[in-house]
Subunit: 164 residues, 2 copies
Protein backbone atom coordinates (compact mmCIF):
# COMPACT_ATOMS: atom_id res chain seq x y z
CA UNK A 1 0.00 0.00 0.00
CA UNK A 2 1.12 3.51 -0.79
CA UNK A 3 0.42 6.47 1.47
CA UNK A 4 0.69 10.03 0.13
CA UNK A 5 1.03 12.83 2.70
CA UNK A 6 0.08 16.17 1.12
CA UNK A 7 0.46 19.53 2.83
CA UNK A 8 -2.19 22.22 2.19
CA UNK A 9 -1.31 25.13 -0.13
CA UNK A 10 -0.35 28.69 0.82
CA UNK A 11 -3.11 30.20 3.02
CA UNK A 12 -4.01 33.67 4.24
CA UNK A 13 -2.52 34.83 7.54
CA UNK A 14 -4.41 34.46 10.78
CA UNK A 15 -5.89 37.78 11.99
CA UNK A 16 -8.19 38.90 14.79
CA UNK A 17 -11.13 38.45 12.40
CA UNK A 18 -10.03 35.18 10.78
CA UNK A 19 -9.74 32.11 13.00
CA UNK A 20 -6.99 29.61 12.19
CA UNK A 21 -9.44 26.95 11.11
CA UNK A 22 -11.14 29.35 8.69
CA UNK A 23 -8.01 30.50 6.84
CA UNK A 24 -8.50 30.07 3.07
CA UNK A 25 -5.93 29.43 0.37
CA UNK A 26 -4.64 32.68 -1.14
CA UNK A 27 -4.98 33.29 -4.88
CA UNK A 28 -1.32 32.26 -5.30
CA UNK A 29 -1.85 29.23 -3.07
CA UNK A 30 -4.86 28.13 -5.08
CA UNK A 31 -3.09 28.59 -8.44
CA UNK A 32 0.05 26.74 -7.32
CA UNK A 33 -1.98 23.89 -5.81
CA UNK A 34 -4.00 23.59 -9.03
CA UNK A 35 -0.80 23.31 -11.07
CA UNK A 36 0.59 20.67 -8.69
CA UNK A 37 -2.69 18.71 -8.92
CA UNK A 38 -2.67 18.84 -12.71
CA UNK A 39 0.94 17.63 -12.80
CA UNK A 40 0.17 14.75 -10.42
CA UNK A 41 -2.73 13.75 -12.66
CA UNK A 42 -0.47 13.82 -15.75
CA UNK A 43 2.08 11.68 -13.87
CA UNK A 44 -0.61 9.02 -13.49
CA UNK A 45 -1.36 9.36 -9.77
CA UNK A 46 -4.76 8.06 -8.68
CA UNK A 47 -5.90 7.79 -5.07
CA UNK A 48 -8.57 5.35 -3.87
CA UNK A 49 -9.45 7.83 -1.16
CA UNK A 50 -8.41 11.31 0.00
CA UNK A 51 -8.85 12.00 3.72
CA UNK A 52 -8.50 15.66 4.67
CA UNK A 53 -8.24 17.77 7.77
CA UNK A 54 -11.52 19.72 8.07
CA UNK A 55 -9.68 23.06 8.32
CA UNK A 56 -10.61 25.28 5.36
CA UNK A 57 -7.12 25.48 3.83
CA UNK A 58 -6.75 21.69 3.84
CA UNK A 59 -10.32 21.05 2.67
CA UNK A 60 -9.79 23.48 -0.25
CA UNK A 61 -6.53 21.73 -1.14
CA UNK A 62 -8.26 18.35 -1.14
CA UNK A 63 -11.09 19.72 -3.30
CA UNK A 64 -8.51 20.92 -5.86
CA UNK A 65 -7.05 17.39 -5.96
CA UNK A 66 -10.55 15.96 -6.52
CA UNK A 67 -11.30 18.53 -9.25
CA UNK A 68 -8.09 17.50 -11.06
CA UNK A 69 -9.36 13.92 -11.20
CA UNK A 70 -6.94 12.44 -8.67
CA UNK A 71 -9.71 10.68 -6.73
CA UNK A 72 -13.48 10.43 -6.55
CA UNK A 73 -13.62 9.75 -2.81
CA UNK A 74 -13.17 12.48 -0.20
CA UNK A 75 -13.58 12.18 3.56
CA UNK A 76 -12.86 14.53 6.46
CA UNK A 77 -11.18 13.47 9.68
CA UNK A 78 -10.67 15.60 12.78
CA UNK A 79 -7.62 13.42 13.52
CA UNK A 80 -5.81 15.30 10.73
CA UNK A 81 -6.11 18.77 12.32
CA UNK A 82 -2.90 20.28 13.79
CA UNK A 83 -4.12 19.29 17.26
CA UNK A 84 -5.62 15.98 16.18
CA UNK A 85 -4.42 12.57 17.18
CA UNK A 86 -3.17 11.41 13.79
CA UNK A 87 -0.99 8.86 15.55
CA UNK A 88 -3.51 6.42 16.99
CA UNK A 89 -5.97 7.08 14.15
CA UNK A 90 -3.43 6.22 11.48
CA UNK A 91 -2.21 3.12 13.29
CA UNK A 92 -5.81 1.97 13.53
CA UNK A 93 -6.55 2.86 9.92
CA UNK A 94 -3.48 1.05 8.67
CA UNK A 95 -4.63 -2.32 9.95
CA UNK A 96 -4.82 -4.79 7.06
CA UNK A 97 -8.61 -4.99 7.26
CA UNK A 98 -8.81 -1.47 5.86
CA UNK A 99 -6.72 -1.78 2.75
CA UNK A 100 -5.39 -4.09 0.07
CA UNK A 101 -1.74 -4.22 -1.05
CA UNK A 102 -2.69 -1.96 -3.96
CA UNK A 103 -4.52 0.75 -2.01
CA UNK A 104 -3.33 4.31 -2.64
CA UNK A 105 -4.39 6.61 0.20
CA UNK A 106 -3.80 10.38 0.30
CA UNK A 107 -3.95 12.41 3.51
CA UNK A 108 -4.19 16.22 3.29
CA UNK A 109 -3.10 18.01 6.42
CA UNK A 110 -0.61 20.17 8.26
CA UNK A 111 2.99 20.43 9.34
CA UNK A 112 4.78 19.25 11.36
CA UNK A 113 2.24 16.40 11.74
CA UNK A 114 2.69 14.96 8.25
CA UNK A 115 6.46 14.86 8.03
CA UNK A 116 6.66 13.65 11.64
CA UNK A 117 4.40 10.80 10.63
CA UNK A 118 6.58 9.92 7.68
CA UNK A 119 9.54 9.65 10.05
CA UNK A 120 7.58 7.50 12.50
CA UNK A 121 6.59 5.13 9.69
CA UNK A 122 10.22 4.90 8.52
CA UNK A 123 12.09 5.16 11.78
CA UNK A 124 9.68 4.74 14.65
CA UNK A 125 10.28 8.27 15.93
CA UNK A 126 10.25 11.86 14.66
CA UNK A 127 13.07 14.38 14.83
CA UNK A 128 12.22 16.88 12.10
CA UNK A 129 14.41 15.49 9.31
CA UNK A 130 12.09 16.23 6.41
CA UNK A 131 11.28 19.56 4.77
CA UNK A 132 7.68 19.43 3.52
CA UNK A 133 6.70 22.69 1.80
CA UNK A 134 3.11 23.90 1.37
CA UNK A 135 1.51 21.94 -1.52
CA UNK A 136 4.44 19.51 -1.32
CA UNK A 137 4.09 15.78 -0.81
CA UNK A 138 5.64 12.65 0.62
CA UNK A 139 5.11 9.11 -0.74
CA UNK A 140 5.57 6.15 1.64
CA UNK A 141 5.29 2.44 0.85
CA UNK A 142 3.95 0.29 3.68
CA UNK A 143 4.99 -3.31 4.26
CA UNK A 144 2.50 -5.96 3.14
CA UNK A 145 2.48 -7.60 6.56
CA UNK A 146 3.29 -6.49 10.07
CA UNK A 147 3.28 -3.05 11.65
CA UNK A 148 4.10 -0.16 9.29
CA UNK A 149 5.76 1.77 12.16
CA UNK A 150 9.52 1.65 11.64
CA UNK A 151 9.13 -0.71 8.67
CA UNK A 152 7.91 1.53 5.82
CA UNK A 153 9.97 2.99 3.00
CA UNK A 154 9.89 6.46 1.43
CA UNK A 155 9.96 6.64 -2.34
CA UNK A 156 9.03 10.29 -2.92
CA UNK A 157 9.43 13.67 -1.24
CA UNK A 158 8.95 16.75 -3.34
CA UNK A 159 8.48 20.47 -2.92
CA UNK A 160 5.82 21.94 -5.25
CA UNK A 161 8.40 23.85 -7.29
CA UNK A 162 9.60 20.60 -8.87
CA UNK A 163 6.04 19.75 -9.93
CA UNK A 164 5.15 23.05 -11.64
Amino acid sequence: MELYLIRHGIAEEQTSSIKDEERSLTKEGRQKTEKVAQRLQKLGLQFDLIVTSPLVRARQTAEILIAAGLSSQLEESAHLTPDGDISSWLIDWLKPKNYSPNTQLALVGHEPCLSNWAEILLWGEAKGSFVLKKAGMIGVKLPETGSPVGHSQMFWLTPPKYLL
Copy 2:
Protein backbone atom coordinates in the same frame (compact mmCIF):
# COMPACT_ATOMS: atom_id res chain seq x y z
CA MET B 1 24.93 23.64 1.66
CA GLU B 2 22.91 21.27 -0.48
CA LEU B 3 24.05 17.76 -1.33
CA TYR B 4 22.48 15.86 -4.25
CA LEU B 5 22.91 12.09 -4.30
CA ILE B 6 22.29 10.75 -7.82
CA ARG B 7 22.17 7.07 -8.73
CA HIS B 8 23.58 5.95 -12.10
CA GLY B 9 21.13 5.06 -14.91
CA ILE B 10 20.11 1.59 -16.09
CA ALA B 11 23.22 -0.38 -17.07
CA GLU B 12 23.92 -3.61 -18.97
CA GLU B 13 24.07 -6.83 -16.99
CA GLN B 14 27.34 -8.24 -15.74
CA THR B 15 28.55 -11.21 -17.83
CA SER B 16 31.65 -13.38 -17.98
CA SER B 17 33.07 -10.98 -20.57
CA ILE B 18 31.96 -7.68 -18.95
CA LYS B 19 33.40 -6.82 -15.55
CA ASP B 20 31.14 -4.98 -13.10
CA GLU B 21 33.22 -1.81 -13.28
CA GLU B 22 32.99 -1.77 -17.08
CA ARG B 23 29.21 -2.08 -17.39
CA SER B 24 27.85 0.71 -19.61
CA LEU B 25 24.47 2.40 -19.58
CA THR B 26 22.01 0.65 -21.90
CA LYS B 27 20.35 2.61 -24.70
CA GLU B 28 17.22 2.95 -22.51
CA GLY B 29 19.36 3.93 -19.52
CA ARG B 30 21.13 6.61 -21.51
CA GLN B 31 17.90 8.04 -22.95
CA LYS B 32 16.15 8.13 -19.57
CA THR B 33 19.15 9.69 -17.87
CA GLU B 34 19.35 12.35 -20.60
CA LYS B 35 15.67 13.22 -20.08
CA VAL B 36 16.17 13.45 -16.32
CA ALA B 37 19.22 15.69 -16.82
CA GLN B 38 17.31 17.98 -19.18
CA ARG B 39 14.44 18.25 -16.73
CA LEU B 40 16.82 19.06 -13.84
CA GLN B 41 18.37 21.78 -15.97
CA LYS B 42 14.93 23.25 -16.76
CA LEU B 43 14.10 23.18 -13.04
CA GLY B 44 17.08 25.46 -12.45
CA LEU B 45 19.47 23.01 -10.79
CA GLN B 46 23.15 23.96 -10.97
CA PHE B 47 25.94 22.10 -9.19
CA ASP B 48 29.26 23.69 -8.24
CA LEU B 49 30.86 20.29 -8.61
CA ILE B 50 29.89 16.76 -9.60
CA VAL B 51 31.95 13.97 -8.02
CA THR B 52 31.43 10.56 -9.57
CA SER B 53 32.32 6.96 -8.91
CA PRO B 54 34.88 5.94 -11.57
CA LEU B 55 32.78 2.92 -12.63
CA VAL B 56 31.70 3.29 -16.25
CA ARG B 57 27.93 3.42 -15.60
CA ALA B 58 28.38 6.19 -13.02
CA ARG B 59 30.94 8.10 -15.07
CA GLN B 60 28.59 8.02 -18.09
CA THR B 61 25.72 9.26 -15.92
CA ALA B 62 27.85 12.15 -14.65
CA GLU B 63 28.91 13.03 -18.20
CA ILE B 64 25.25 13.24 -19.24
CA LEU B 65 24.62 15.67 -16.35
CA ILE B 66 27.61 17.76 -17.50
CA ALA B 67 26.42 17.70 -21.14
CA ALA B 68 23.00 18.99 -20.01
CA GLY B 69 24.70 22.03 -18.46
CA LEU B 70 24.16 21.07 -14.82
CA SER B 71 27.81 21.71 -13.89
CA SER B 72 31.14 22.52 -15.48
CA GLN B 73 33.22 20.70 -12.87
CA LEU B 74 33.61 16.92 -12.79
CA GLU B 75 35.86 14.86 -10.55
CA GLU B 76 36.22 11.14 -9.92
CA SER B 77 36.59 9.57 -6.51
CA ALA B 78 37.27 5.92 -5.74
CA HIS B 79 35.46 6.50 -2.42
CA LEU B 80 32.19 6.49 -4.38
CA THR B 81 32.57 2.93 -5.77
CA PRO B 82 30.28 0.25 -4.26
CA ASP B 83 33.21 -0.96 -2.15
CA GLY B 84 34.58 2.52 -1.46
CA ASP B 85 34.72 4.21 1.89
CA ILE B 86 32.21 6.98 1.18
CA SER B 87 31.71 7.37 4.91
CA SER B 88 35.04 8.79 6.09
CA TRP B 89 35.59 10.56 2.77
CA LEU B 90 32.28 12.40 2.94
CA ILE B 91 32.75 13.34 6.58
CA ASP B 92 36.15 14.77 5.69
CA TRP B 93 34.82 16.49 2.59
CA LEU B 94 31.94 18.06 4.49
CA LYS B 95 34.22 20.02 6.80
CA PRO B 96 33.43 23.72 6.52
CA LYS B 97 36.79 24.48 4.89
CA ASN B 98 35.57 22.76 1.75
CA TYR B 99 32.33 24.55 1.11
CA SER B 100 30.33 27.72 1.61
CA PRO B 101 26.71 27.81 2.82
CA ASN B 102 25.64 28.13 -0.83
CA THR B 103 27.63 25.22 -2.25
CA GLN B 104 25.62 22.70 -4.28
CA LEU B 105 27.48 19.39 -4.55
CA ALA B 106 26.31 16.38 -6.57
CA LEU B 107 27.61 12.85 -6.00
CA VAL B 108 26.98 10.18 -8.65
CA GLY B 109 27.25 6.64 -7.35
CA HIS B 110 25.63 3.37 -6.38
CA GLU B 111 23.04 1.81 -4.13
CA PRO B 112 22.75 1.08 -1.28
CA CYS B 113 25.64 3.47 -0.52
CA LEU B 114 23.82 6.66 -1.50
CA SER B 115 20.54 6.16 0.30
CA ASN B 116 22.37 4.76 3.32
CA TRP B 117 24.32 7.97 3.41
CA ALA B 118 21.20 10.07 3.25
CA GLU B 119 19.92 8.19 6.30
CA ILE B 120 23.19 8.66 8.18
CA LEU B 121 23.10 12.40 7.49
CA LEU B 122 19.50 12.60 8.73
CA TRP B 123 19.43 10.08 11.57
CA GLY B 124 23.00 8.98 12.25
CA GLU B 125 22.50 5.40 11.05
CA ALA B 126 21.17 3.50 8.03
CA LYS B 127 18.37 0.95 7.93
CA GLY B 128 17.24 0.97 4.30
CA SER B 129 14.29 3.36 4.59
CA PHE B 130 14.68 5.08 1.22
CA VAL B 131 13.93 3.74 -2.25
CA LEU B 132 16.39 5.32 -4.70
CA LYS B 133 15.76 4.13 -8.27
CA LYS B 134 18.34 4.19 -11.05
CA ALA B 135 18.67 7.79 -12.34
CA GLY B 136 16.75 8.92 -9.27
CA MET B 137 18.02 11.49 -6.77
CA ILE B 138 18.00 12.64 -3.17
CA GLY B 139 18.47 16.26 -2.02
CA VAL B 140 19.82 16.89 1.50
CA LYS B 141 20.38 20.23 3.22
CA LEU B 142 23.33 20.34 5.61
CA PRO B 143 23.43 22.49 8.74
CA GLU B 144 25.51 25.67 8.50
CA THR B 145 27.53 24.75 11.58
CA GLY B 146 28.36 21.56 13.40
CA SER B 147 28.47 17.97 12.18
CA PRO B 148 26.06 17.12 9.36
CA VAL B 149 25.69 13.54 10.67
CA GLY B 150 22.27 13.24 12.29
CA HIS B 151 21.60 16.94 11.78
CA SER B 152 20.79 17.28 8.07
CA GLN B 153 17.36 17.57 6.47
CA MET B 154 16.00 15.96 3.31
CA PHE B 155 14.03 18.20 0.95
CA TRP B 156 13.84 15.98 -2.14
CA LEU B 157 13.68 12.31 -3.07
CA THR B 158 12.47 11.41 -6.52
CA PRO B 159 12.35 8.43 -8.84
CA PRO B 160 13.18 9.31 -12.47
CA LYS B 161 9.60 8.66 -13.63
CA TYR B 162 8.44 11.86 -11.96
CA LEU B 163 11.11 13.86 -13.80
CA LEU B 164 10.38 12.62 -17.34
